[in-house]
């Protein structure tokens, strides 16, 4: 069946084992969940190894066929990886462990169901990145939707139902549009294999229409500005352990989709609407930053910060050149790590101080110096300090966009300053601000909490200091896309 | 005599029956109107058995079945009406809005 199948369905081991454990044995469950979440990582490392040793990982098994000649359609079970999806798989596996560890500390009730749903979610995410067939992609895509809805709705904050429903509604509309695109492509091409679609020649109008639909479908996920309200709500309401996955990987499906399908299938049409995408990216970047500047609550601040950072991804994609695309991919990974770490810290802070309002968190560096220090570090990473992952992606993205659209790029650089402004404002006010947080005996980062912190901070620094460790994987994807663009 | 006259008559009766079924407030009358509509249809069937494309006895037989089913329908309808009346003490159609959304 191949390593990829094993990877994608490896969370099932955890699901089965968890189902076998009676719900009274919470400790055993937690142990099983954490250990089983390591399994996908091992698998993905094997896949990584195989990929870089040049092994052919793709699988192609006939699956569904219908219709009669000459209108017969075949859907195949096809898995495969490109350099970019490979690192996304790794990122998913890593963040899942980290999130699971976080959840053992922060999710109090209904632990078993939480772990089961999370593992199910993981199958969905892994499948999305590994599939090579649109139908399969869509199935996995939908598979992420339902567990996420339940997870938000059951373990969320005060307005969890509202958040869950807006999540479902927006993403449902997004996937409906996606489904339409897939069906149209299927009907026109006769196959939903990525390569087959990429090589098919569609009329200009059709591909433009499909591309715009794709932009909307993945724009919901990314999110692109007017479609972002659900995402803020989810960030604020969902449990931080879940937001780590959500902000870390789920949003990245949007970026992945835009690159894999948007540019991959319709390079010429994408070239035409690249300025529009760039402007959307610019709006995301500046709008998110401006709003983040006046937020009073940490989670919504970093939600808008995510929007702003996704603007950089859009800019990179719109650049349509090697530097820009590589920057966009790098930013995708980098922001995944940074956002996950930020929300982990927010989870810790919320757990211990029971508030996430900036004004009520002043003086954190006195009560929780290590937490404050890590928060400062990740804030700096987020504003693109060299030596951390954020810088590399910002640099490459702007390098790319300056070549193709200098004016937009020049305006975009304002975003760099704004980002610095709001991050510093938040981080300084929290960690160093007036000491409002008078409670004594609040424990700092300790014991198990260091696992997520060290993993993520380590990775942020690693790919920041040695960007080649990441770029040598995504290079192949970039080259493939650039070849397609014909540049 | 052509088929048209019968068909027109049937159409008129059907329209009247439908009108009654949709506007009358008394459930019994509604049932009666439905019977009228069935009759109109039967008239069509019988007319076609004489003037049809393939005139045959089949039309009459079908109308017999139809009458049978109509009888069954009337019986069940009245039974339901009685049961409802026992529960709600009314036969007005407006009062039977349990399906209100």
């Amino acid at each position: 069946m191949g390593w990829l199948t094993l990877l994608v369905f490896s969370p099932i081991v955890g699901i089965v084992l968890l189902l076998l454990v009676p719900s009274t044995q919470a400790k055993l469950q937690k142990r099983i969940a954490v250990i089983c979440s390591i399994l996908p990582l091992i698998m993905s490392i094997i896949v990584y190894q195989q990929f870089h040793s040049g092994a052919d990982l793709s699988i192609r098994v006939p699956w569904i066929s219908f219709g009669q000649y000459p209108f017969s359609f075949f859907v195949e079970y096809e898995l495969g990886v490109s350099g970019f999806s490979l690192v996304l798989l790794l990122l998913t596996a890593v963040l899942m462990i980290v999130s699971m560890v976080t959840a053992t500390m922060q999710i109090k009730k209904g632990w078993k169901q939480y772990a089961l749903l999370t593992l199910l979610l993981e199958i969905g995410i892994l499948g999305v990145f590994a599939s090579q067939n649109l139908i399969l992609f869509f199935i996995f895509f939908e598979l992420t939707l339902v567990p996420m809805f339940l997870l938000i709705g059951k373990w969320g904050g005060m307005e969890k139902e509202r958040a869950a429903y807006s999540y479902l509604l927006y993403n449902g509309i997004g996937s409906a549009i996606l489904l339409i695109v897939i069906i149209v492509l299927f009907a026109n091409v006769g196959s939903t294999n990525y390569e087959a679609i990429a090589n098919a020649s569609l009329s200009t109008e059709l591909s433009m229409g499909l591309l715009i639909s794709l932009l909307i479908a993945f724009g919901v996920k990314l999110p692109i500005v007017p479609l972002h309200t659900w995402m803020v709500r989810v960030h604020v309401q969902a449990p931080p352990a879940l937001v780590m996955i959500h902000a870390g990987v789920l949003l990245k499906i949007g970026a992945y989709g835009l690159m894999q399908f948007g540019i991959g299938f319709f390079p010429a049409s994408f070239q035409d609407i690249a300025p529009v995408v760039a402007i959307l990216g610019l709006v995301n970047l500046l709008y998110g930053a401006c709003i983040a500047f006046v937020q009073k609550e940490l989670r919504s601040l970093f939600a808008y910060s995510s929007i702003s950072h996704m603007g950089i991804v859009l800019l990179g994609i719109a650049a349509m050149n090697e530097a820009g695309l590589q920057g966009a991919m790098f930013q995708t990974i980098s922001h995944g790590l940074i956002a996950a770490l930020v929300f982990f810290l927010i989870g810790v802070v919320k757990e211990k101080t029971e508030t996430t309002y900036i004004t009520r968190l002043g003086g954190l560096s006195r009560t929780m110096p290590l937490t404050a220090g890590v928060l400062l570090a990740v804030g700096l990473a987020s504003l693109g300090l060299p030596g951390m992952s954020g810088f590399v992606s910002e640099f490459m993205t702007f390098l790319g966009i300056f070549e193709s659209m200098p004016v937009i790029a020049a305006i975009g650089t304002i975003g760099i300053i704004l980002t610095a402004a709001y991050i510093l404002r938040a981080v300084m006010d929290i960690t160093f601000g007036k000491e409002v947080l008078a409670q004594q005996g609040i424990a700092d980062l300790q014991g198990k909490e260091w696992i997520p912190v060290s993993i993520m901070l380590g990775l942020i620094l690693l790919i920041g200091v040695f960007p080649t460790s990441l770029t040598h994987s995504i290079q192949t994807s970039v080259e493939a896309i650039v070849l397609r663009i014909g540049g | 005599m052509t088929v048209h006259a019968f068909l027109l008559l049937a159409a008129a009766l059907f329209a009247l029956g439908l009108f009654g079924a949709l506007t009358k407030r008394n459930t019994v009358i509604v049932l009666i109107c439905i019977e009228l509509m069935l009759n109109a249809v039967n008239l069509n069937l019988v007319a076609f058995s004489k003037f049809g494309v393939n005139p045959a006895i089949t039309g009459q037989i079908f109308s017999l079945f139809s009458i049978t089913v109509a009888a069954a329908e009337a019986a069940v309808g009245l039974a339901i009406l009685i049961a409802l009346y026992r529960n709600k003490a009314t036969v007005q159609v407006e009062d039977m809005n349990e399906m209100k959304g």
Binding site: - | V3, A11, L18, F19, L22, R25, N26, Q60, A74, V76
Partner: protein, 169 residues
């Protein structure tokens, strides 16, 4: 104008008249009686259409059985609103349905005008009952049996439904 046409006109007029009276009468029992008139005239039309057996069945079932059943139904229920019963509901629905029905008839009229089958069955009235009997018991025996089952089920169901609640316990 042949006698046939005259008879048809008379019967048709009675049928429509009965229907109209049914729609406009103020008492339920009057309505029912008007309808019986219609049923009877339809039976007459059946005779004209060489369907003597069906005509007899029509008289037996409709004019007889169903009407009696309806009368029972009326008598078993109270009809306080009889006096207030309005033929046309004051709401727009009555008008709407009325207009729709007039249109429906108009459309049917137009459509029926275009119908022309041409062929006429010559010998339906010759031993009509025998013909029906032969067909029913040979060609249509299975539907016939099925209908009998339907009737049985319907009557048992009707009895069950109409039974008082406390009887079931």
């Amino acid at each position: 104008m042949t006698g046939e046409v005259m008879i048809f006109l008379v019967l048709a007029t009675i049928a429509i008249f009965g229907a109209l009276v049914m729609l406009n009468a103020s008492k339920v029992i009057h309505m029912l009686l008007a309808l019986v008139l219609t049923f009877l005239s339809i039976a007459g039309l059946y005779v004209m259409l060489s369907a003597e057996f069906v005509a007899v069945v029509q008289v037996l079932i409709y004019s007889g059985a169903i009407s009696i059943m309806m009368i029972f139904g009326i008598m078993l229920t109270k009809h306080h609103h009889d006096a207030k019963e309005r033929t046309y509901r004051s709401s727009q629905r009555g008008w709407l349905v009325g207009v729709a029905m007039v249109l429906f008839f108009g459309i049917m009229y137009v459509l029926i005008e275009g119908v022309n089958f041409g062929a006429t069955a010559p010998d339906l009235h010759v031993e009509n009952t025998k013909q029906i009997g032969l067909s029913l018991y040979s060609h249509y025996v299975i539907p016939f049996e099925l209908v009998s089952i339907v009737l049985l089920v319907a009557f048992i169901g009707a009895i069950l439904l109409a039974k008082r609640e406390e009887d079931t316990e």
